[in-house]
Symmetry: C2
Subunit: 211 residues, 2 copies
C-alpha cells in the first residue's frame, strides 16, 4: 500500500526566497510535484500558461469555484488566485508530494480542508525588512507604487507566521534548503504516513506465531 502524498505549503512575503527554495527542493527530489495555481491576472512577459499559472478569465474561474474544482482560492488586488483540485487528488493517490507556493489565505483554507491530515506547512521569513525590500527592488520590474503595495502585503503576510507548522528564517539559502529537507524527511517518516508498516508488523507477528 502506498502512502498518501503530502501537501507541502510554502508561504512567505514576496522576496523572502520561497520560489528559489521550492526550485531547490524539486531539484533534490524530482518526484515532487509543483501545484500550478490558476489566476485571472494578466500574464507577465515570459510567463507560460500551464507552467507559471493557468491563466483563466473571471468567468472560467468562477465556474471552477462553483463546480468544486478549486481546493482553495482568494481574491488579491481584484484578481482571483487558487489551486486546482484535480492534480492534487491525483498526486495524493499516487503518493507523490505536492509543493504549494501560496499565501496565508490559501494555506489556511487547505489546512482547514478535508486534506488537513496531509498538510505540512512552512513559513519562510526574511532576515530583515531591509533585506526583503532590497530583493524586491533588485527584481527591478516594479514601480515604486507597486513596491509599496507589495511591502504592505508582506507585512500582512508575515503577521500569519504562527499559523504554520514550521518557520524558517532565510538568512542563508543553503541552510534554509537543508532545514526544508530535514523537515520533509521527518514528516515523511511519521508512523501515520507509512502504511507499509502495517504489513511489516503483520510479518513480525507471523514470525512470533511460527517460532
Amino acid at each position: 500500500m502506498r502512502r498518501r502524498g503530502l501537501l507541502i505549503i510554502l508561504s512567505s512575503p514576496s522576496g523572502a526566497g520561497k520560489s528559489s527554495l521550492a526550485k531547490r527542493l524539486m531539484a533534490w527530489d524530482p518526484s515532487l510535484k509543483f501545484s500550478v495555481s490558476a489566476t485571472t491576472r494578466q500574464p507577465r512577459p515570459g510567463e507560460v500558461d500551464g507552467v507559471d499559472y493557468y491563466f483563466k478569465s473571471h468567468e472560467e474561474f468562477e465556474k471552477l469555484i462553483a463546480d468544486g474544482g478549486m481546493l482553495e482560492h482568494a481574491e488579491v488586488f481584484g484578481n482571483y488566485y487558487g489551486s486546482p483540485q484535480g492534480p492534487i487528488d491525483e498526486a495524493i493517490a499516487e503518493g507523490r508530494d505536492t509543493i504549494f507556493d501560496i499565501d496565508w489565505q490559501g494555506g489556511q483554507q487547505i489546512r482547514r480542508s478535508k486534506l488537513a491530515q496531509d498538510v505540512v506547512s512552512i513559513f519562510i521569513l526574511p532576515p530583515s525588512i531591509a533585506d526583503l525590500e532590497s530583493r524586491l527592488r533588485g527584481r527591478a520590474q516594479d514601480s515604486d507604487e507597486v513596491i509599496e503595495k507589495r511591502m504592505s502585503q508582506s507585512r500582512n503576510e508575515i503577521s500569519h507566521w504562527a499559523e504554520y507548522d514550521y518557520v524558517i528564517v532565510n538568512r542563508d539559502l543553503d541552510k534554509a534548503e537543508e532545514e526544508l529537507k530535514t523537515i520533509l524527511t521527518a514528516e515523511r517518516a511519521r508512523a501515520s504516513r507509512q502504511p507499509q508498516l502495517t504489513e511489516f508488523v503483520r510479518g513480525l507477528n507471523k514470525e512470533f506465531e511460527d517460532r
Copy 2:
C-alpha cells in the same frame, strides 16, 4: 525566551537497539538529558544506583507515587518502574530535551499527561523476530525461561507501535541514528517550539513602522 525542553520517548522490544541509539543520540548532542527510571527490582551485577536506575524499595516507590513524584509508572513482572517527575520539570524549564527509554505503558501515560505538547515519541522495530531473538540470546545473561518471557513481552510491546509519532525499523544502526537525528532536528524547528520567533517578528514589524 527559551523554548521548552522536549520529551523524547524511545520504546521498542528489548534487543531492538533502543539503548544503543539513545547512547548515540547523547553523544551527538551532549545537551540531551537521560531520564533515569526508578525501579523496585534488584540491581543486576554492574548496575549503579542513580546511573542505570534509582533503586527503591516497594514502600519508597509507593510513597513517590502517592506524592505525585512520578510522571508515569507501571508494574512489570511484579516490580514497579517509573519516571521521576522532578528532573523532567527541571529539564523542560531549562529548554533541555530529555530522552526516555521506556515501554509502551510509560509512553502512553506521558502522551496523555499535561506534558503531551512536549512529547515526541519514536518506536524502534527490529528487522525480524529472528534477529531480535538472536540479539537477546547474544547478551547471554538470561536463561531460556527468561528469554521466552522477554519474547512474549516483545510481542506485546510491538503491538503498540502505531501509538507512536514515528517508527524506525532498525535494519542498520547508522541509518537508524540518522533518522533519529533528522526527526529530532525537525521537531525542534516547529514554530510552536521556537518562542524566540515572537521577538524576531516583533523586530520585523518595528522595521516596517520605521520605514
